[in-house]
Subunit: 318 residues, 2 copies
C-alpha cells in the first residue's frame, strides 16, 4: 500500500449507504483532496421539507454521526415528532427523527431564501466538521421515477412506502434533460482519478450520469475511472440492486456491474469471492482488482479506499 | 352556584395563557356547548411552518397537554430539533419543541393541501379529545403589528425576539379589513352569553374585534357580554398587558379594562383585590361581579367559569 501523493485530488460518485462508507474511507485518506458528487435523484418534498436522502447519508457518514444500526439517519436519534404526528393522523410512512428534521428544516429554509443546494450542503458539512467537499450532482431537480407495468412511481414511494415490492420495468430520471451539471465540477483542482462507489448503479449512479455533460466531463478528464462493484457473490450488500438487475434482465453479478459501466469505467474492484469472474470481466476491456470489499468496520472502508487509489495509480502509470 | 341549563351554548373569546385557562374552566362545565373564538393575529410563518400560537395554547390547554411550567408548548416536551438546528446555525429565537413541531407540520401540510384553518383546528382538537369547539376568528390572515417610533414590528418579533422590550405607540391588525368572519360563527346554536376571557385586550381580543362584522355580530346577539379583567391589582397576571396599557396612556387597572370595552361589554368580572373600583366601573354602565379571578388550579378555572356563567344568567334575567 502506498500513501496518496499530496497533490492527488479524487472525485467519487456516490449514492446511499455503501457509497457513503467508501466515501468515508476516501475522506479519511484524502481529506480536502476529495470531492464526492452525490445523487439527488431520490430527493423529494415531504411535509413541505426538501429532503435529500443520499446527501444526508453521505454527510452524516462523513460527519461521523450516522446511525449505524438503522442504516440511515442520525445516531442517538429520538422520535417525539413522529409520535405526535401519528397522534394527529399525519403521514407516518417516511420516518423523520427529531434531529434529522433540523437538517431538512435548515435546508428547506435556505433554499427558500435563494441559496443553492450546493451552498446548503457546504454549510451542513462545515457544521459537521467535514473537510472533503460534497457536491449534489446538480442544483436543479432530477427525480428518479420507477415504471412498473402501467404505473409510474416516485422514488421514495417505491423505496420506502412500497419497500421496493413491485417489479421494475424501467427507470427514468425526470428533469435530468434540463438539469445543469454542478458548476463547481468545472472548477476542481487537477484530478487523478474518479471512483464510482459501490452504490446502486440504476438508482444512485445512473441519475448522476443522466445529467447532461457528466459523461462527457468524466471522459474528457482522461484519468482512470474505477468502479467498485456493489454486487458481491451475486447479491447486493444492501438495498434492491440485485432485485432490479434481475428485473431488468442484467446478469446479477460483478460481471453485470462491469457490463453496465462498459465504455465508461477503466477498472473495477470486485470482491475476493468473485475472483472467478475476473477473466470474463477483463474481456470487457477493464482492469480488475480483486480485494475484500465488504465494509464492516472503519478500517475496512479505509482499506477499500486505498485499494481504489492503488488501482487508479496503476492505471495512470500503465 | 347553579349548573348551566343543558341548552346553554356559550361563546368565549380568547387569546393566550389566561384566556386558555378560563376557556378550560368553561369547557369543563359546558363541554360541546362551548365555542371558543381564538385570536390568530399572532400567527406567523417560521421555517416554512404556519404557527398559530394562541390556537395552540388553547388547544393544548383544553386537551390537558399544555406545559404548565413553561406557559406555552406541550408537557414532556423535548428539544432535539432545536439543539441540532442550533448546530447548523439555524434560527434559535423561536423555540420549537419536537412534539410541538408535529402540530405545526400537520397544520402547514393541511393548509397547503387546501384545508381551512378552521378544519385543521377541528382535526387537532379531535385528536386531543376536545369536545368544545375552537374556531380561529377568521380563516384569512390577520397580523398584529407593533408600531414603536419609526419602526413597524411583526408581533412575534416584538413578543419573543424583543421580549416586548420596546415601547408601543400603536397597534394595528394588518389584513383585518379584508378578513372574513369565521363562517361557522353564523351557524352556532342559540347562544346565552359571550365571555371575553382574561386575555390581553390589545394583543388578543382587539384583533378578534378588528375582523369586520365581529362587533355587529356580538351586539346583534342581544345576550350578555361579560369581560373578565386580565388586570388584577394594577398588574397583569402574565404578559405585557399592563406595560402596553401604560404606554398607550390607559389607566392600568380593572377600570381601564372596563373602559376599553365600554359600549361592548354588559358586565365585568374583577378580582377581590379590586373591589374598591367596583363603583367607578359601574358608572360606565357595566354590571360588576367581584370574585377571586387568579387561576392557580383547575378548580380556580372552573370556579371563575361558573362566576362568569352566574353573572351572565343574572344579566339575562335582569
Amino acid at each position: 500500500m502506498s500513501t496518496p501523493k499530496p497533490e492527488d485530488h479524487i472525485v467519487a460518485l456516490a449514492g446511499g449507504v455503501g457509497g457513503a462508507k467508501l466515501a468515508d474511507g476516501l475522506a479519511h485518506l484524502l481529506g480536502d483532496k476529495l470531492t464526492v458528487v452525490v445523487n439527488t435523484g431520490d430527493d423529494f418534498e415531504h411535509l413541505g421539507f426538501h429532503i435529500s436522502p443520499d446527501l444526508d447519508t453521505v454527510t452524516y457518514t462523513l460527519g461521523g454521526v450516522a446511525n449505524k444500526q438503522q442504516g440511515w439517519g442520525l445516531e442517538g436519534e429520538t422520535w417525539a415528532f413522529m409520535e405526535q404526528l401519528a397522534r394527529f393522523g399525519g403521514p407516518a410512512w417516511f420516518r423523520l427523527g427529531d434531529r434529522d428534521l433540523a437538517t431538512h428544516a435548515y435546508r428547506t429554509e435556505r433554499l427558500r431564501g435563494g441559496a443553492t443546494l450546493t451552498q446548503v450542503t457546504a454549510e451542513l458539512c462545515a457544521a459537521l466538521g467535514i473537510t472533503s467537499r460534497l457536491l449534489p450532482m446538480s442544483d436543479d431537480p432530477v427525480r428518479t421515477m420507477i415504471h412498473s407495468g402501467e404505473r409510474t412511481i416516485a422514488f421514495q414511494e417505491y423505496f420506502v412506502r412500497l419497500a421496493c415490492d413491485v417489479p421494475v420495468d424501467a427507470i427514468t430520471y425526470s428533469g435530468a434533460e434540463r438539469a445543469r451539471l454542478n458548476p463547481q465540477l468545472g472548477a476542481l483542482p487537477q484530478l487523478q482519478a474518479v471512483i464510482v462507489c459501490p452504490s446502486n448503479p440504476y438508482l444512485s449512479i445512473d441519475p448522476i450520469l443522466a445529467v447532461p455533460g457528466v459523461r462527457q466531463w468524466l471522459t474528457s478528464l482522461s484519468i482512470p475511472i474505477i468502479v467498485v462493484s456493489p454486487i458481491v457473490g451475486g447479491a447486493a450488500i444492501k438495498g434492491p440492486a440485485a432485485k432490479i438487475m434481475q428485473e431488468l434482465k442484467a446478469p446479477v453479478s460483478a460481471f453485470g456491474v462491469a457490463a453496465h459501466y462498459r465504455g465508461l469505467a477503466d477498472g473495477i474492484v470486485i470482491d475476493d469471492c468473485d475472483r472467478a469472474l475476473a477473466g470474463e470481466i477483463a474481456s470487457l476491456g477493464m482492469a480488475v482488482h480483486v480485494v475484500p470489499t465488504v465494509m464492516r468496520s472503519r478500517d475496512d472502508r479505509v482499506m477499500l479506499a486505498q485499494s481504489c487509489l492503488d488501482l487508479s495509480r496503476t492505471l495512470r502509470n500503465a
